[in-house]
Amino acid sequence: MTSWRIEEIDTDIAIVGGGTAGCMAAIAANRLRHDCRTVIIEKAHIQRSGCLAAGVNAINAYLNPGETVNSFVEFVRREAHGVMREDLVAAMAARLNRMTDNLAHWGVPIPRHANGHYLPRGKRSIEIYGERIKPIMAARAQSTGALVLNKTVAVDYIVDDQRVCGVYAFSLKEPVFYVIKASTVICTTGGASGLYRPNNPGSARGRMWYPPSNAGAGYAMGLRAGAEMTGLEMRFIALRVKDTIAPTGSVAQGVRVSQVNALGQSYIPKGSHATTAERLAATLAEEWQGRGPCYLDTTGLTAGQAQQLQEAYLDMCPSMVLWWADRPIAPQEAMFEICGTEPYVVGGHAQAGYWVDTGRATTVVGLLAAGDVAGGAPKKYVSGAMAEGEIAAETAVGFLDQLPPPRVSPDHIQQKLKQITAPLYREKGIGPDLLTEKLQKVMDEYAGGISQGYRLAGPRLERARQMLAEIKENTENMVAVDLYQLMAARETMDRILVAAALVEHLLYRRESRWPAYQYRLDFPAKDDRRWQVFVNSTYNPNTGAFRLQERPVR
């Protein structure tokens, strides 16, 4: 690699990750302060990046008639088995419908009844034709005049005297190292996939549910900057269609089908109030008692409903349609088998992420977080991520005139550049893919992956901790031949750190709170008296040690 060019950019707000929350943050910042300078740093291209790249077919957090902010909060409290931040969820819930209206206003097709209401898919969910949702949001964000750095990978925050005042990033197109100085930084990098060995092997390893490109950068950057994280131990394991890993929600909610075991018995009664985690656990229990595989019984669908189902999948997970075409069968000709995915760390479904205040400010001055990377508020989905993006933008704009101008020393820039680009200059070593494979094997086998039926136990987790420390040492030998591999090397580093933090959280909570997501064989009971608390962590990058602490649920 030839020499690197250093490019310094001055801005008011830097948004890390141009996904759902990031685009909305840019739009809101511009609406609140027209003269506000905003930079969006996006590793792919904002037109089709992150969770929304393929599209969506529902808005999963919406208050249909009869639902209120309070009823939403109570729903989330049940889903989170008591541990959640009411202030965060309530602030988000109050904006869900307005965010959805925004999408409709910008051009996303959302069908309505003649009476003007959107079509409900469940109590808190509506149908949308969302294949183009991301390009539509991106166009809006771009029209604000924000500077969008596409194909630019954020690697670390610029920290000056315990304050975050910018972002280091590098371009995937040419050897350019960005030093983006900002009064406020909003982190919207999404959650983390790829920590565990995925469902599909080898040639299909990328066919997972959560985007492979959301590699946990925001969590890792936050940990390295000393930010407090919460709820990592509430992992998210999705119940999905086997092989294609397509969401089942479209089927189960969109057209009402039952979940049955191999004997044809329905094991989740109709109208059950089981939480998402309990539904997954019930499916696993059927498997372990010899009544698997389990299925979604689509055989009762009419031809029209089956057609509707295919169309809905094209808007969100096209490979499901391909799967039917490959047999070839129609959706109503065979039930489809379901399975759990590998565990993810994602604050938008579960609650792993930055510990934030109601304004989405993290514990580090100058740093805010929104969307899947922010903690304490499960069940955000698209509209909740947008709501949080807007809240964070409001807080950021409020900070603008309060914080002193950002500073960064030339020495520090040179040091960072050297550290980040090191894999390009090593002669020999291990490729990022091989190291990620090793990480995934360790997490799968020792930290409750698919092969362990997600079950956790102290001694195994301690072994995971030990092995992760070894893997971390291997990162000193990572090699990259081009900028793409340099990104992969960074993703590997980030995943290893997030995995290490996750293991600490899993070890700390000595009870079993969330079926399947967090089930300890050595502490199988839920203990509300002792453990109805948040488990939070901070990382010391100098010593490599984590400090765990508890915070009360209010």
């Binding site: 309505r112 066919r207 799967w323």
Partner: protein, 124 residues
């Protein structure tokens, strides 16, 4: 090995700084190779999102399931137009199904007042 492209159809989009397919890949897998045609860094990392498929102006790309989860040769083509997305599904037996989905809401507002989706599929 989920995305497949026909090098005879792919022009490499020489007049664009970055081919449309490569631009939109959320995983940054695609690029213009030395031969001026599309190339992929690592097919096993493909998320199957079809963003590249819909962005190609020449329909040179399609999705196909890798043998480990499929392998019977069905293909999914698609193309994003301003107000709709046109999908073409080639079943493993060779039959082709076309489905149009609305992508910008003017259409929906004018045609959809009731429950069902507005675009009934054409079947060949």
């Amino acid at each position: 090995m989920s995305i497949v492209w026909d090098p005879r159809v792919c022009t490499g989009c020489p007049h664009t700084p970055e081919p449309p397919c490569a631009r939109v890949c959320p995983c940054n897998l695609l690029y213009r190779g030395h031969d001026g045609k599309l190339a992929c860094r690592d097919k096993t990392g493909c998320w199957d999102c079809a963003a590249c498929v819909k962005a190609c102006p020449n329909e040179a790309l399609y999705l196909s399931l890798p043998p480990v989860i499929g392998g019977n040769g069905a293909r999914l083509y698609g193309r994003a137009y301003r107000d709709h997305t046109a999908w073409r599904i080639q079943l493993s037996g060779g039959k082709v199904i076309e489905i149009k989905r609305p992508a910008l809401n003017k259409i929906v507002q004018s045609t959809c007042g009731v429950e069902s989706s507005s675009n009934s599929p054409k079947t060949e």
